[in-house]
């Protein structure tokens, strides 16, 4: 591991002002420390932000929640208001990692964790995300593609975003507040709202991006921007679910996961439907196409199957991960069926 200097600033402003090229923000460390040990990333200055961002969950007047970026995954999962009002979020958090990891991992770090693509984590392999221009072993013949993307990938990167929490936050229309270094004029920001206090707000899934030709960028954050809070809108009506399919019963990343919400109005027609997929793309995948099929129509198993089919019609599986398309289609159909009143 490359030697690095370390600081633990006590405020967001101090943390952001310390950022420079080659620095990295550290929170729970469950991903960053591992990547540093693997040699995937080698910061020369580590800024520990655990005392620079909030670790509180606050209820807003609207009924929504403001979640500090430093809140540990386990604390958020066990929070009474999250369990009561945002069950898909509690379920997503509880299905991620292990008890030990959830105790250390934070909300901000969970959002910004890197892909677990085996070729990204293996420094002896080419990887355009880790080493831009070196090539993509994941899309080479014979690659192990079982965990890779089927939607929105490019010829130079087929990595998936590994978070469960971010999938639920996407379906819940959560907003991520980030603090920007001074002097940043927010020009060219993607889905941004500049605020006088030097923060901007990004609605999920706009924090993440598709790889295109620059897979080294996981997110729409600019250098030095720090996630400080996640804001949850007031709890939506209807029923929620999060279901994750993985290779073993616990402590494994999703092959495919689905966060879904279904609200059927008094007239028997769907008035709100949200579907987000995990494990299929470089970002949490909001299934707008499927949602549009379901919205306004009477809910039925046939409608849900048609919605899933519409969403997956343009999936482009890699050799070896075709199963994900079938799995995602079946999961969407089944989870929506489970949410019928």
């Amino acid at each position: 591991m490359r030697p690095f200097s370390y600081a633990r600033p006590g405020s967001t402003a101090d943390a952001v002002s310390q950022f420079r090229d080659g620095a990295a923000y550290l929170a729970g460390g469950t991903n960053l420390v591992d990547l540093m040990r693997l040699g995937v990333t080698a910061p020369d200055h580590v800024i520990d932000v655990t005392r620079a961002v909030s670790s509180q969950v606050d209820e807003r007047e609207s009924g929504g929640l403001t979640i500090g970026a430093g809140v540990r995954n386990s604390d958020l999962a066990s929070h009474p208001l999250v369990r009561e009002r945002y069950p898909m979020l509690a379920r997503a958090l509880l299905s991620g990692a292990s008890g030990q990891v959830r105790n250390a991992a934070t909300v901000g770090g969970n959002l910004l964790q890197r892909t677990r693509c085996p070729y990204f984590q293996d420094v002896t392999m080419p990887c355009n995300k880790r080493s831009p221009g070196s090539g993509c072993q994941a899309t080479a013949p014979g690659a192990d593609t079982a965990h890779l993307a089927v939607l929105g990938h490019s010829t130079c990167c087929a990595a998936t975003h590994p978070s469960d929490m971010a999938v639920a936050l996407t379906a819940l229309n959560a907003r991520v507040r980030v603090a920007s270094p001074a002097g940043d004029d927010h020009a060219g920001a993607h889905v941004s709202t500049a605020n006088p206090d030097g923060t901007r707000v990004i609605e999920m899934p706009g924090l993440h991006r598709l790889p295109g030709g620059i897979p080294e960028r996981d997110t729409t954050l600019r250098p030095g921007e720090l996630v400080t809070e996640v804001e949850l809108p007031p709890p939506p009506g209807g029923r929620q679910a999060y279901r994750k399919v993985r290779e073993r019963a616990s402590f494994a990343f999703a092959l495919v996961s689905v966060a879904a919400l279904l609200d059927v109005g008094p007239g028997g027609r769907v008035r709100d439907c949200r579907i987000a997929l995990g494990g299929v793309a470089h970002m949490p995948w909001r299934a707008h196409t499927a949602e549009r099929v379901v919205l306004g129509a009477p809910p039925s198993a046939a409608a849900f199957a048609a919605a899933a089919e519409a969403e997956l019609r343009y999936a482009r599986p890699l050799p070896g991960n075709e199963y994900k398309v079938t799995l995602a289609r079946n999961l969407i159909t089944d989870v929506l069926g489970e949410l019928l009143p």
Partner: protein, 228 residues
Amino acid sequence: MPGCGGRLNQAAGRSNRPCPGYPVAVMDNAHVTLVSLTVNGEPRTVMADNRLSLLDLLRERLGLTGTKKGCDHGQCGACTVLADGRRVNACLALAVACDGASIQTVEGLAGPGGLHPLQQAFLRHDAFQCGYCTPGQLCSAIGMLTETGPSAVTADLAADPPLTPGEIRERMSGNLCRCGAYVNIVAAISSEASSGGEAGDPLAAISFGDTAPYPPARRAAGSRAGAS
């Protein structure tokens, strides 16, 4: 600036052995930090390379080799310790980030009265074979027993469910056992969770938190924790 106050002067910093492949010149005082933490109730201060993990600090610098290094990637749980009462993977924590923390390792579980009740339960149920994962299993289970709320297998999210074998398996999924002693590990934890503990409260013997590494009765009896 927090975390920077205790750096070595430059000459002393260079006495640290550099990582192979990096020039000695980079091992200056910017890359080491004075770390103060409490380990099993005793205050400890170590001048640590910023790259040092909590696990290596415990094993290599403090000689507490009870905590085991398995995968060193947070996947096996052999290095599980309690940090401020919460179970964490010591391999994924930078020692420097633990400045000010209270760490409990397997060495600190037994009190003057003998083994911790969960250690006794592991013996009673034959809950290990080679023993390598056992320190992590013990610390993880003790942390787990203090945690509240549902797990991924709990049907009702509002519930604080009883620790059925299914709940224990899910909650202990961060600890692997290559010998496959899981059946007896679950039985040992299950018996400890349902035994009611010494004072009728299932957590009485194990609910030490931020400030009380041992239950009051044990501390009063002159355990090492009392010295802190």
